[in-house]
Every structure is written in C-alpha cells, then in structure tokens.
C-alpha cells in the first residue's frame, strides 16, 4: 500500500501519533493502526512491526494503561488508554511539534532577498 506521495514518518513521531490516536478513545493495537490511517486520510501508514514495541514502551513509561476486553467481533483484545501523565505528555509534545513546524515553515518560505 505504499504510495510515493505518502508522508515518511520522522523518527520520534510514532509515539506522538499513538498518544493522539488513543486520546480519541481506548483502542487495541490494530485499532490504533486503523485510526491513524483513517484520520490522516491514508497519508500516514505505520510499519506494523514497529507498533507494538512502541506501545509497550509507552506502557512501561506509564503513559498508557492497558485492560483486556472484548473487540467488535467478540474476540479478546488488549485495549490501551491514556493516563493523566500520558495526556500531559501529549500536550507537551504537540506544542513542541507545532513550534517546530512554525520554525521550519519560516525557514522554507524565506526568499533569497531576505537572507
């Protein structure tokens, strides 16, 4: 499903995406994958194997909480939700990201005369 126009994921952003996806509602691992794909309009496609190590890392850092539940098709699945610490981290990272984007934008828009 790779597309030349798909955005490439910068390292370190996976965690932020996961936090955001989960913040919209408790999800199991596969659901996180689907939601990121869906919300980004298909532009962001997470490498499946990298997902679970990231999830476990976030859980060990106490940013995510887990609970076993039943999925839509009546199978047992592990659901992830944000902890208060996770919510805080999401907020901080988002602010940092937006500052980065603004700075990058200023630099990229600069014209030869402005230098």
């Amino acid at each position: 499903m790779a597309n030349d126009r798909d955005a490439t994921l910068l390292p370190g952003t996976l965690d932020l995406l996961i936090l955001k996806a989960v913040s919209l509602g408790a999800l199991h691992g596969y659901g996180v994958l689907l939601r990121i794909n869906q919300v980004s309009g298909g532009a962001l496609d997470i490498e499946q194997g990298a997902l679970y190590p990231a999830l476990y890392r976030l859980e060990r850092q106490h940013l995510l909480d887990t609970e076993w539940g039943t999925s839509e098709n009546n199978r047992k699945a592990k659901y992830y939700r944000l902890t208060p610490a996770g919510r805080k981290r999401l907020r901080e990272e988002t602010e940092g990201w937006e500052r980065l984007v603004a700075a990058m934008g200023t630099v990229l828009r600069s014209r030869p005369e402005e230098v």
Partner: protein, 868 residues
C-alpha cells in the same frame, strides 16, 4: 503478548478478506505485512524489560562454558572461596544451633524463655544459671499471668540402679510443661495439677521414650511399676511419645514433678526457700497477646513476686524466643568472644577473596584479546561488566555450595571433638535448614561482589587496542597492572598476620593459664568422691565415712596431707553473702562472697598459703565451733588490711551465727575468666546437713599405688559404696576447655589464612614469571646472572608481602587489646609472639615465592625469544 499479536493478525486478515482476498491469501498477506515477528520479538522484549533476564541466562551459560575451558582456575578459585565460606558457615551453624534455632517443640513460634535476674541490696541464691526463679516466685507468676502460659523446668541427676552408670538424667517440671511443648503420652498419662501442687507429695514419674526402650526394655506393662530413684520408690505413670526430647539442650531420661526437688539435693533443698532460684521459666504466649504486652506483664509480675517474699531487690525480667542457650548471662559473656570469632572468619574470607581477585586479574589479562574484539564489534561496556559480575557470581555460588558441604562436615567434627563426658546426651540439631543455606548464599554473593568488582572494573578501563595487534602476553604499560595485584598480596599478608598474631597470643595465654599459679594446687591432688544417695546414708553417716577415709589417707605412704571439702575443685562454686562486723560489734553492709566448707588440713592439702593466723583446727571441727578463715581479698576490702584475725564476721542467718576469724590465706583464682572473682570464706565442714563432699589427698611421686590404697580403704569402710578417684589435673583441663577451644579455633583460622595467603603469593609470582619470560630470556641471553634474576623476581614478589606484614603488625598491636581478658596476663604486645609470627609468615612467603621463581631459572633464552 502472543495473544495480542495473534488478534492483530486475525483482524488484518478479516479486513483483507472483506477486500476480496481468499482466506489463505489474506492470512499470508497479513503475515507478510507484519514482517518477521521474531525480529520484533527482541525489541518487544527489550521494551518490556525482559532483556535483563534473557541476558542473565545467556551470561550464565557463557560463564559456565568459559569456566569449563579452564578447569584448574575454576577448581582453585572455587576452592579458595569454599574455604572462606566454610569457616563462616561453620561458625554461623554452631551459633545458630545453640542460640537461634527454634526449640524442638510443637509450634516453636510462640514459645519464649523468660529470664529474671535481680539487682540491688540483698542476697539471693541461684542454682544453675543466674536467671532462675524460686518455687514461690514461679507459683505467683504463673497464677497471675494472662498473656502467656508459664511452665517451670529444672535439671537434676538421679541415682538409679536401672542404668549402667547408676544415674538418670531428670527434668523437674510443672504439670503443664509436657503438654505445653506438645508432648503426648505414648503410654499412660502425664502429671495432674494435684501431683505437682505440694512439695514432696507425689513420687510419680514419666519416662522418656529412649529411656523406656533402653533401660526398661520397652516393657509394655511399665505403667504402674515402681522404680527407685534417689532411694525413693517412684511410680511410673506414663511414657512420652518418641518425638518428645524435652525443651533443653540435654535430653532427659525421666520427668518428675518439680515439687520433688527436695529429693534431688539431700540436706540442702531449695524448694522451701523463697529467695533461692532454681526454676527456669518456659512460656507459651497466648494468641491474643503480643511480645510487648507479654514482657510488660511479666516485668510487673516478676517484681511483685520478688517483693511478695520480702526481698528489697529489683527484678530484671527479659525474654527471648525459645532456644537452647539464650540466657542473658551467656549472651553477655559470649558476645565478645563470638564477635571476635566472626571477625576472624571474615578476615579469612577476605583473604580468600583477594586470592580469587588476583586470579581473575591474571585471567582477565589473558583474555584481553577476546574482550577487545567483543568491544570492537559493539558490545556495550555495561553489558560486559554485567557479564564479568555474572561470572564472579557463578564462581562464588560454586565455591559457596562446596563451602556449605565442607561446613556441615566441620560442624560435626567440632561437636564430636568435645569429650562426651563433658556434655552428655545433647540434642543440638546441626542439619542445614533454610536459614543456614540463605546465610551461605548471601555470604557467597557478597564475596563474589568483593572479588569480582575490581578486576571487572580494571579490565574495562584499560586501553585494549594494543591487545588486538600483538599476540604476545606482554602488557602495554607494564607498570599499571602490577600495583593492583601487589596491593592485594599486601592486603592478604596484613590480614594473615593479624590472624596469626592473635592466634599466637591466645595460644601463649592458654599455655600460661594452664601453668598459672592460681594460689592453690593444680596437680598432685586426688579427689575421692562417693555417690551416697542410693545407699541408706544419712548426712551424719556420710560425714563420718568421709572423715574416716580422710584419716586413713593422711597416714598412707606417699601422702603429704589429706582433707575434706564440699566443692569440687575447679568445677563448682558456691555463692553466698556475708556481713563484716566492725570493732564495736555492729554488722556492716552485706556483700557477696564465695564460700567453701572444709575439713582439717585443708590449706596444707591444697597448698594455699596462710598469711595470718592459722587454719581450722581439728578440735574446732569436732565441736563445730563458729570459726572461719577468710582470704586476703576479703580481709583487705572489709577489714582494712591483712590483720583480720580475731575480728568477727556473719556468714548469713541470725546473729547467733557470728563467727570469729582465725586465719587469713592468699587469694585463689579459679578458672572463670568471665566472672569477677569474689572474696572467699572457708567454714568448717562438720555439722553440715549435707550428704555430698570429697576427700582431697595431696601426694608425692606416682599416684597409682595411692589410688589403689584409697579404693581399698573405702571398701574396707563400707563394701557397698564405690569410690571415684579423679586426679585434679583432669578438672583443671576441663575448666580450661573453653579457652583451649578458642585457641584451637583461632589457630586453625590462622593456619588457613597462612595457606591461602601463600598460595595467593605463589599464584602471583608464577603469573609474573610467565608474563616476563621473554624479558628474562633476553636478559639471560645478554649474560645476566641467573641468581640475580632469581633475587629480582623473588624480591619483587616479596616486597608487597613485607609491606602488608608491616601494616598487619600495627593492626595486630592495636587490636590485641581486645583479647586482654583471655590472655591470662600475657601482654597484648608480647614481643615474642609478634616476632615469631612475623618470622613464620616471611619464611612461608619465601618458600611460596621461591618455588615458581625457580622456574624462571630454567627459561631457555633461545626458546623464550622464539616464543610468540
């Protein structure tokens, strides 16, 4: 985790199927998309924190393989650790078996030993330990205790014709003691409360299982039979079950009510004296009480019990979880020797650790290449460090396991070496229960940390690049590696010398103690004793028998003098109290004394010097006159000087007991270096209501003829009694047994330390020689004198050892002070001991260094130069 990943795959498969693929295609696609699960598993496991455990497993396997490749190293290192751990574990096992191990009773968790000592004005007698209570006090405390159930116990020996040696070990107990410890009657029943209510009332007895089997042939009809003990017929009312062996260190043959106490001490019963303690208290805490509330209640009750019979003293009540030897006097007196021993075994372990550290340094040096390669292909330093520690831990555990086995053997050897006559049938459990194993484990791990951490750090710090380039064993900068090994050797030498000096001092002290002038005869005296309890002897008749034998002995050829006494020389002591009476006839403060009742010619027989006045005369003994002889300490302290003759003293009881002092003798020093010597008083033996006593005979020349003559004389006086003749040297040796054992223990430790230190030096010197083969070969090829090389190598090896020894001497001088009490007057900085042990260490070190150094002489220069 597996379930979660499976769910993911299934969900993806479902989606793909909804998109139109067949199931097999969808499954394959889903799996392909996910990628190699195995490769992610590692990352996942790391994220999970399981990495550490995986690494540990891998490290252990690697360490095991590398140890197997170098078996000599493994065996030597593990052996050194084993010795160090073994001495530690042995000491701990002994202490544990005696003082910490729960009693062999039902539910030992709630059992407590209760101790009561007294302080302050007033005299108090104790029989056995010093933390016992009297019959009246026990009855009071038991009746009023709510937080625990109190039971009483005391030990005694009864004479009985039913055994080979004529004695039975007995425990006098309250009615509730046997049920309290969980005993059940295998036959018959135990005591009722009526049977233990009135003193002297009921002669009933319960046999132990082993006594029933061994002395009564397991007679099924034993219940109701009568057995005569101490001349009294006892009815056997029951036999205890096989598992019951009593709550004390010694296993009894029979239990009798404690109200029968008067029977066990003819003429001197304790039971009616409210101020005479003889009962040990064993208590079971009630389920709803805590230790704190129990102790609080017992403290109050103890004091009340004391004041109830008019004593003005203060009760000091203490409590400990049930164990054999946790009496506060023992723990107080034993604390210092035990701590010193623990220190000594720790020193041995440290020396062993230094050995292994040196070995690891040498080994690590040989593995430089391997480590350099591993570092260069990306192993983290932390990772390698962890691996080295794991190797050390494995080595430590192997050594520890071996050490534990060794210690089990050693403990049994130590206990077996104590003569059985001195301790009797004990029930010390020497097996290794989980606490001992845990202790050994902890010690082994700590040791592996100690010996492993420095080589590991050292290895990772150095620049290892040169190691990759060259294949030789030459070090890059030769200087840096040697100092650490030298430091360890020096440390070993210092600790070793410390141990050796202390051992030497103790040995000298012991020797001096044996030969010390104690103020009384330690040899050439025979002690004749009878066991008259079984015969139909009254105290008066017993005194007559002893006096008659004494008269016969006094005129035997080879005999210098003969006398009588109530105490067994060097074994028993009798504590009492007396009051000095001043010139105006007024009695002073009561003070503690030791006393002894003696017969005629006592001071000549025991070679005690008379300083003033005279001994007790025959006439005075006949009439039972009120005279005493005191020792010079009593005279000096309470009568202002040696001239106490003619003054009066009150040895207890009412004023009618006032006595006149007729002589002052030199002070004597019985061998009890923990208890303070009290002033001593000698009273005439005649008129005592006492069935025991000994005849003392001082002789010249060979004793055999006199022993025979004494036995002959005894049987002529009464053919039914057997006389036991003991040479006084035997008692002296027994009394010195604790010091002898301490000296033996420390000597063994010192010897072990010496062996370890020397083998360490040996290892270091042979390592150095091996490393410098090329250099030595070059020197020899260039014409150097081989002897000079030998001196060089040996000198370099010995230098750190000498430096360490010097420091060790200083340490020893400082620490020997602690031993002063056990040295019997040998100076803690005795020059002979110091020089002798230093010389011993240097000589041993010289040998240890010479042997491998001689290998340096045999280096063929041509071969060494070629060796690459």
């Amino acid at each position: 985790m597996h379930a979660e990943l499976q769910f993911h795959l299934d969900a993806r498969t479902d989606d793909l199927m909804r998109g139109g693929l067949t199931r097999p295609d969808a499954e394959r696609r889903a799996r392909l998309e996910f990628g190699g699960v195995a490769s992610y598993k590692d990352e996942i496991r790391e994220a999970f924190g399981l990495r550490l455990i995986d690494d540990l497993g891998r490290d252990l396997a690697y360490a095991w393989r590398s140890l197997r490749r170098t078996p000599t190293f493994a065996v030597t290192a593990a052996g050194a650790i084993a010795f160090g751990v073994a001495v530690n574990a042995t000491l701990f096992s002994l202490v544990y078996a005696l003082i910490l191990r729960p009693l062999p009773v039902r539910d030992p968790g709630t059992i407590r030993n209760v101790f009561m000592e007294t302080r302050g004005d007033g005299s108090r007698g104790t029989h056995g330990t010093q933390s016992v209570v009297s019959f009246a006090e026990f009855a009071f405390m038991r009746a009023h205790a709510h937080t625990a159930e109190l039971a009483g116990i005391s030990e005694a020996e009864l004479s009985c014709k039913c055994t080979a040696d004529g004695t039975l070990g007995a425990q006098l107990v309250s009615d509730n003691l046997l049920p309290l410890i969980g005993a059940t009657p295998a036959l018959g029943r135990f005591f009722t409360s009526e049977e233990t209510a009135t003193p002297g009332s009921q002669a009933v007895a319960v046999l132990s299982w082993s006594a029933w089997k061994n002395h009564f042939n397991g007679d099924a009809a034993i219940v109701g039979r009568s057995v005569t003990m101490n001349r009294t017929p006892f009815t056997i009312i029951g036999v205890a079950d096989e598992r019951t062996t009593g709550p004390l260190l010694m296993k009894p043959d029979v239990w009798i009510p404690y109200t029968m106490q008067a029977l066990t001490r003819e003429g001197d019963p304790f039971i009616r004296d409210a101020n005479m303690g003889w009962i040990e208290i064993l208590a079971r805490r009630r389920p709803d009480a805590s230790d704190a509330t129990m102790l609080a209640e017992l403290r109050v009750l103890g004091q009340q019990a004391l004041t109830a019979h008019g004593s003005k003293q203060t009760a000091v009540v203490s409590m400990a979880p049930g164990a054999f030897l946790n009496d506060p006097t023992i723990t107080r007196e034993g604390l210092i020797p035990a701590s010193l021993l623990f220190l000594a075994v720790t020193l041995v372990l440290l020396i062993a650790c230094a050995n292994v550290a040196n070995m690891l340094l040498a080994r690590g040096f040989a593995r430089r290449r391997e480590i350099a390669i591993r570092l260069s292909i990306g192993a983290g330093r932390q990772r390698l460090f962890r691996q080295f520690l794991t190797e050390s831990a494995l080595l430590g555990m192997l050594g520890g396991a071996l050490g534990l086995t060794l210690s089990q053997l050693a403990v049994r050897l130590v206990v077996a070496s104590i003569p059985a006559s001195d301790i009797g049938p004990h029930q010390m459990n020497l097996s290794a229960d989980w606490r001992i194993v845990l202790y050994t484990l902890v010690v082994s791990l700590l040791a592996s940390l100690v010996f492993g951490i420095v080589p590991a750090l050292r290895l990772l710090r150095d620049d290892l690049a040169p190691a990759l380039k060259t294949d030789t064993l030459e070090p890059a900068p030769a200087r840096r590696r040697v100092p650490l090994q030298s430091l360890l050797v020096a440390g070993q030498a210092g600790l070793c010398l410390l141990l050796l000096v202390n051992a030497g001092l103790l040995l000298r002290g012991f020797d001096r103690g044996l030969r010390m002038d104690r103020g009384l005869a330690t040899g050439q005296v025979l002690i004749v004793s009878f066991d008259l309890r079984q015969q139909q002897y009254t105290p008066a008749r017993a005194q007559q028998l002893l006096a008659q034998l004494r008269e016969r002995a006094a005129v035997m050829p080879g005999v210098d003098a003969a006398s009588l006494t109530t105490l067994t020389p060097f074994v028993s002591m009798s504590f009492d109290a007396a009051k000095a009476i001043d010139a105006n006839g007024a009695p002073g403060q009561q003070f503690g004394v030791t006393d002894e009742h003696v017969g005629a010619d006592f001071f000549q027989t025991m070679r005690i010097n008379t300083v003033r006045g005279r001994g007790i005369s025959g006439a005075e003994l006949e009439t039972g006159a009120r005279v005493v002889v005191v020792d010079e300490e009593l005279a000096r302290t309470y009568y202002g000087g040696l001239d106490a003759v003619g003054r009066r003293i009150n040895p207890g009881g009412g004023r009618e007991n006032d006595c006149e002092i007729v002589g002052v003798v030199s002070a004597t020093h019985p061998i009890s270096w923990a208890r303070a010597d009290r002033p001593k008083m000698y009273l005439p033996m005649r008129g005592l209501d006492y069935i025991g006593g000994h005849v003392l005979v001082h002789y010249r020349g060979a004793p055999e003829a006199i022993v025979a003559a004494l036995r002959q004389g005894a049987s002529e006086l009464d053919p039914n009694v057997t006389a036991t003749v003991t040479p006084i040297e035997h008692n002296v040796t027994s009394a010195m047994a604790p010091v002898r054992m301490a000296a033996a223990a420390v000597s063994t430790l010192g010897g072990l330390a010496l062996v370890l230190a020397c083998s360490g030096l040996y290892g270091v010197v042979s390592f150095t020689v091996g490393r410098r083969r090329r250099e030595i070969g070059i020197r020899v090829a260039l014409g150097a004198d081989r002897a000079r090389i030998l001196r060089l190598v040996v000198g370099q090896g010995l230098r750190p050892m000498l430096a360490g020894a010097a420091i060790g001497i200083v340490l020893a001088a400082a620490s020997a002070r602690l031993l002063r009490a056990m040295l019997f007057g040998v100076s803690p900085i005795d020059p002979i001991t110091f020089t002798a042990t230093a010389a011993l260490l240097c000589a041993a070190a010289l040998v240890a260094a010479l042997v491998p150094a001689r290998a340096a002489l045999r280096v063929d220069p041509a071969e060494a130069l070629r060796h690459d």
